[in-house]
Symmetry: D2
């Protein structure tokens, strides 16, 4: 299927999904603290796909078997040694930008159960600590493992979720599979700047047209093995309007996942994921499901992009070295990370 054909059915006038059944109420985003089923569902800037269209897309994007039946790396396979060497060559000024958000211990409406740190009692010269966290949601910059999402009890590469999960961890596709880390070219697409808006409003889709407009404006092209970062201006919006609800939020139309599939993106991160709530019963977390389950594309969730965008604009360059590595925790569905970008 060509991009043209695929884009053909994504028009500018969105159509809200209707007739959602009660079962959607239980498809609440983990740790969100807010109810997906009661959130406004109207969308703007692209046509909502039907569940059948989404499922067809899900099947088109599948990398099942592509790197072998036991592959747990997914699209990180696109990051070759040559890609790493080239990425290192992007370090020209030595400037560093961290993409991690500061981890808060204060509860908020999108983070009712924040990380907890304790300094433990001690009499000697050393002093130690203990911390606990649930590294998902819009709270902590984290890397999602491929086992974080399923579709019909199936994980990436055809594994059964029910046979993989235990109370103590995922036996396959966990964050441990990503233990060699990420070291590749990063590309920031500032779609808010490309549209000339300070931020996307909460009912708006980000579309493939937005990606390509940003590529054109920035004179950059996303290529195989890249870490793609997308900025819709969410941080600036929250600076001005205060912390936003989990639902609704601007985010990707599912076609964006297919575009990443075609461009062979290795990993995605941004200030949005799918449009929330996503107008689908079968794919309530469309981007998570297309990326993690179908493509095997790990997600760098909830990075800070403001400093990065400022540096890119100042330096007039939109690619850089991006590197991070999750802690080697067998079984985890995610890990907190603090990715570094080097210019």
């Amino acid at each position: 299927m060509s991009i043209v054909t695929r884009r053909g059915f994504v028009g500018l006038a969105g159509l809200a999904a209707a007739g959602l059944s009660r079962s959607a109420a239980t498809q609440q985003s983990p740790s969100s603290g807010q109810d997906r089923s009661r959130a406004p569902r109207d969308t703007a800037r692209a046509r909502d796909l039907s569940d059948d269209e989404l499922e067809a897309m899900f099947r088109r994007c599948s990398n099942t078997g592509k790197w072998g039946a036991d592959d747990e790396l997914g699209t990180l396979n696109y990051v070759t040694a040559a890609k790493r060497i080239a990425a290192a060559q992007l370090v020209r000024t030595g400037e560093v930008v961290s993409l991690g958000r500061d981890i808060s211990q204060t509860a908020s409406k999108v983070d009712p159960s924040p990380a907890k740190l304790m300094i433990t009692f001690g009499n000697g010269p050393g002093i130690s600590d203990y911390f606990a966290m649930a590294p998902h949601g819009m709270t902590i910059t984290h890397l999602d493992s491929l086992a974080h999402f399923s579709f019909n009890d199936t994980l990436y590469n055809g594994r059964k979720r029910s046979a993989t999960m235990t109370s103590g961890g995922a036996q396959w596709g966990s964050i441990f599979a990503l233990r060699q880390g990420i070291f590749t070219r990063g590309v920031l697409l500032d779609v808010a700047a490309a549209r000339g808006v300070p931020w996307y409003e909460s009912n708006e889709y980000v579309t493939v047209a937005d990606f390509e407009a940003a590529e054109k404006r920035q004179n950059v092209r996303v290529s195989s093995g890249d870490a793609l970062l997308v900025r819709t201006g969410m941080e600036r919006m929250e600076q001005e309007r205060g912390i936003q609800d989990t639902y609704p939020r601007a985010g990707f139309h599912a076609e964006c996942a297919e575009w990443m599939h075609e461009r062979e993106v290795a990993i995605y991160g941004g200030d949005c994921i799918e449009k929330l709530p996503y107008p689908s019963e079968r794919f309530p977390s469309a981007m998570h499901m297309m990326a993690l389950v179908s493509m095997g594309l790990p997600i760098l969730d909830w990075p800070a992009l403001t400093a990065l965008a400022a540096t890119c604009a100042r330096e007039s360059r939109w690619d850089f070295l991006l590197t991070t590595a999750p802690m080697r925790l067998p079984g985890g569905t995610s890990a907190p990370v603090n990715p570094l970008c080097l210019f």
Copy 2:
């Protein structure tokens, strides 16, 4: 003071500290689960320094005020933009080696309270988790913040520990201060290989002579801003003999800290720290105290070095790019990390 003079008082015949008072019993390493006060204290390969000699060394190595009264970066100030650019140039084959150890959820004699991961219940397509850990000791590869140790209630750069610590975190010198991460040249000194032994025995000091013998053998020189990694063969010893007690263990003589001070090392990591137990009342964790408190040199604690040493030997090169970044957790005295080395 010259290295020659300093080395003059470090002889080959160690002398165990005598007359330890009961108070030493409480200077147990955090989370060790074993008692420092009852461990064998004999040392070999260098003379034990007196507490007064150690305190004099502590004062000679001090970087207090060197980078300003508010500095929290310590020796990471040696990592300049130029150093980062040069480090990136070391990426020639694109090979990656991770230095993180696998995080265990199983208790052991050196880790009575291991990390705990839980997959949390969910009905939807996503599945999430929660974890808790105390990232110190010989269990999890971690980065020690400068506030992890004190001497006479004083932290690095003259801050008072009692005014800095709260139950919820360190108000200064925490792991958050290191949020821009590490991106610099790494150098591995394989002192076990240089001595021609499979590993150091548990009563042996690692000395400056060992460092310099390894430099000579490897034809490499540790320079300003480097990440220094030292391998005594502990992992191989544990493969053959099984997991070792916390005490005794081979480790650095305090003179090694002063050598790092003179070479302007930015960060240290290795399969040992100070000799354990360190034969001193005043400096029961000599290396931690010299490095973290006096010099402001962060410690990469408990890395895995076996794969790294094998790669270095195969490639006949002992320097590489080393990069990592702690999660941005305000107040933490440490953070789990998974550093990457690129060749």
Copy 3:
């Protein structure tokens, strides 16, 4: 159905369940750390029931709707005000026996992830702590809420588990439902003493005949609203033989649950639950499922009975006041308790 009839099909020669499918492997007891599917399954002293026989018993014992469609108290409804008044009259010598086991922070083969307590740092005159635990399994004396077990996605009183559970707690049937606590007559049946054995061996069923032999020997009768405690000598066995595996263990034949149903027992506790592993695919935790799901009978799991049995024997009385109350934690499927018995 009469007891005679029911007992008719429970013979003395047990027959191990055969042909267990692979699915049993996932029916591992929570937090057990050992694998049910590979444990020896032979039984002694009673005939194994078929799954159909068990399901028929499950339906005979059902209290669904008995106390109203919204009832969350189950058999605690048998504890009337008159029962409490009578129970208080049992306090004659003022002697107190605690049934709680000491909570361990040390991992063991039946408790790979024990409770964790931390004293938190503080500068003032007060000192505080933090603790975490998973209060199930053979580790901590705890009270199981009715929502702790399900059968075919159904909880006590016909509620659907899938509609009741969230990652943050059970919305119905949680330990919070038992917040008014237990204050009733306790009766200890020392079935080991009645049989004249120091303990039951690990393949033996406890049967209704054992209950009635103990009643006869002790000259006591279990009656409506009682807290029933049963002692098979497990603690003494572990004192002599060391800590035992999770599987196999002596425990109840399912007929014991039906006997409790007929006697209107309000709550059960003992040094055993069902025989482990229970020889059934459909009812892998037969006693938990009969009691919690069918009858709505809460379980006091893993009490210490040695001191209680000694006191009963010394005083030649086997009934006493038993009281405890779980912390008021909405959503919990259990809570640690320390029940008191007063003589």
Copy 4:
């Protein structure tokens, strides 16, 4: 010293402590989330005592050595077998009132880090959970162990705090010492009702005169071994005015502790403790320090009294059986409890 003499120096016109040094800023109540040093310190209804007067009172109330050098029970020694038998006789109607407050998982200004409960993933018929909490402050009904507070590094019965505390628990005087629980006569003094006010205002002291007025109005007398409960109407105030700050709050004048000492109270619980902030540098938590450290009197902290007061008023009786027992957690400085009162 007579009560008359002691009361002599406690007048009606309070005098706020002046000239508080900076050190008070660190004497923040554990887990309070608010700053004691900046709170209004005016008091009403009694004269503030000087630090020297408080220290003299602290010494007068001391039970050090009274029950032997190794005693960890403190005033629970007043609860004799005869006292327990008599307490059981108070059960006449069989009505039960629980004193536990519902445990919240929602952060608030007095509870920035609430309890956390998680249901853990499972495939079988059972479902389990995990919880963590810091059971202090105005959040969870809990029992304070004697080691929860110190004065000049000294705990109850002369033990040194620095030699008793470790990061993993208190080696002496922990909640484990109270493992035989509480089973005694409870007496509620409704001082708000005695004064004819709905609640005490936040700058008001509760005084001995208030206690005795309530005794007279209720025709009851607090006697040796009793559990004393005091109600100032705080719950009603919060129902009408919303949740209050940690500071300021109405609470006891230190003389109340001495009165309890003279009446041989076994345990205290109420909707207030000391007046907060307490106007003293040396005794910033006067009631906690007098009770826990000097007298060895455990504190039942933050009980719910509204239902109890209503029952007492309805039944026109102010004494009842009170029973509870902390979980047997060695080392804990507190434990969550849900005490039961039986009428």
